[in-house]
Symmetry: C2
Subunit: 277 residues, 2 copies
Amino acid sequence: MADRDVRVRLDIAYDGTDFSGWATQPGRRTVQAELEQALATVLRVPAARLTVAGRTDAGVHATGQVAHLDLAAELWTEAGPKLVRRLAGVLPADVRVRAATAVPAEFDARFAGLWRRYEYRISDDPSGASPLHRRFVLDHRRALDVPAMAAAAKLLLGLRDFAAFCKWRDTGTTIRTLEVFDVTRLPDGEIRAEVQADAFCHSMVRSLIGGLLAVGEGRKDVDWPASLLTRTSRSDEVAVAPAHGLTLVAVGYPPDDELAARTKRTRAIRGAHEVEE
Amino acid sequence: MADRDVRVRLDIAYDGTDFSGWATQPGRRTVQAELEQALATVLRVPAARLTVAGRTDAGVHATGQVAHLDLAAELWTEAGPKLVRRLAGVLPADVRVRAATAVPAEFDARFAGLWRRYEYRISDDPSGASPLHRRFVLDHRRALDVPAMAAAAKLLLGLRDFAAFCKWRDTGTTIRTLEVFDVTRLPDGEIRAEVQADAFCHSMVRSLIGGLLAVGEGRKDVDWPASLLTRTSRSDEVAVAPAHGLTLVAVGYPPDDELAARTKRTRAIRGAHEVEE
């Protein structure tokens, strides 16, 4: 970024149903392209370029996505206070910018992230998923043993090699720290899995959920998903759960004075590897 | 119903977005027509005819709709236990039958109802309604004074003539008992209005919400909606809030031994008048 630029953090929410994922692809409707186009329109600049915390797949939703961009200081001073309201008038209803905030130049939405948190929602109601929730809840219909799934999830916690649950993409590491993996049945009967890690390799959350579904149906034992952690490559036995049950709900960042160190460390560990789901 | 028939109660949920309301209309996609067609298919009968608790308008949703139909006893014995699961496989994802239960012959989904409860959801977030909730939440964007709305709602409670809030339809009474009218801001920032009455005249909930929005924006005083209860006909000053924020969440019925008396009483009061929103 240039000396006179301001780094701006955007907090973003979207319904992934009608998007081909986050990342711009020619001829496809993507969240990134919609946002960059809306920003260029509202800011009256030729182009805006976003860096994102989690490059979500087609069909995956977000309530707590984070991205950053750099703006000329004069532009931010003029447009900043009205940016969120103006974007609301330009963006389609399935993507929203919740907040736009000036942050230190060391803030990097992707590499400064300490952790990502996802939720996966499942309905095992034999009558089907709630019509009002069906766009973001898996319609499973077969009864699931939630305590068994919760116990299997606990066995996966910690610093592990998740190669069995990662789609191979490049030479990045598949070692991750799984910090939270809670499975609970909500008062409305739906099942919520909360998953938090420093980062996720490609399709990791959906593969973890695929493993738990096998346990919840009684097809596999509680200790089966954790037994796969000895593998060094993707396991064909693990189904990847459908994208539409998955929502990125939050990304955590360190205090401002630790941003630079965190970014440097993450780049060293993961290099060009995709930090994504 | 014939002597050998069984009366069956259906508990129903739907996303009203893509329906032209509950009631069958030629050439339109309606909840009633989808359900009656699915029932005929699953039960292998030429036709099925439903009587509903609340004939919702186009765009209005339901999580707690109730309807009844009469089935030959042999058919119910054979098909009843698998009916919900079979309907789940035949119905489109935006309408679900949550339960199918044999009830006393005196049960009448429409006339035996003691009360109907609706929820209306509003987002006043300047960045717009949640992408995941936007199909059932009003995207208002202008800040609303929720305590003022809640105070205005309380002044409307009780047995009143709601003519100012009713679209004229026929000669039925506009006198209703408003039992619950609570307005609260939820932890996620959205505003929820809960409205319960013995019954509602046409567009009554949406007109009540329209009145509260004028108060919430500061355009009208807290006592203004209640001041309209002196009118004997629809007030042009009251805007009808959009349909998509409204959801029928529950219908209450008396104990079995009071069903017949309740049905008789309701028919006497309201005659052929639509019990609907």
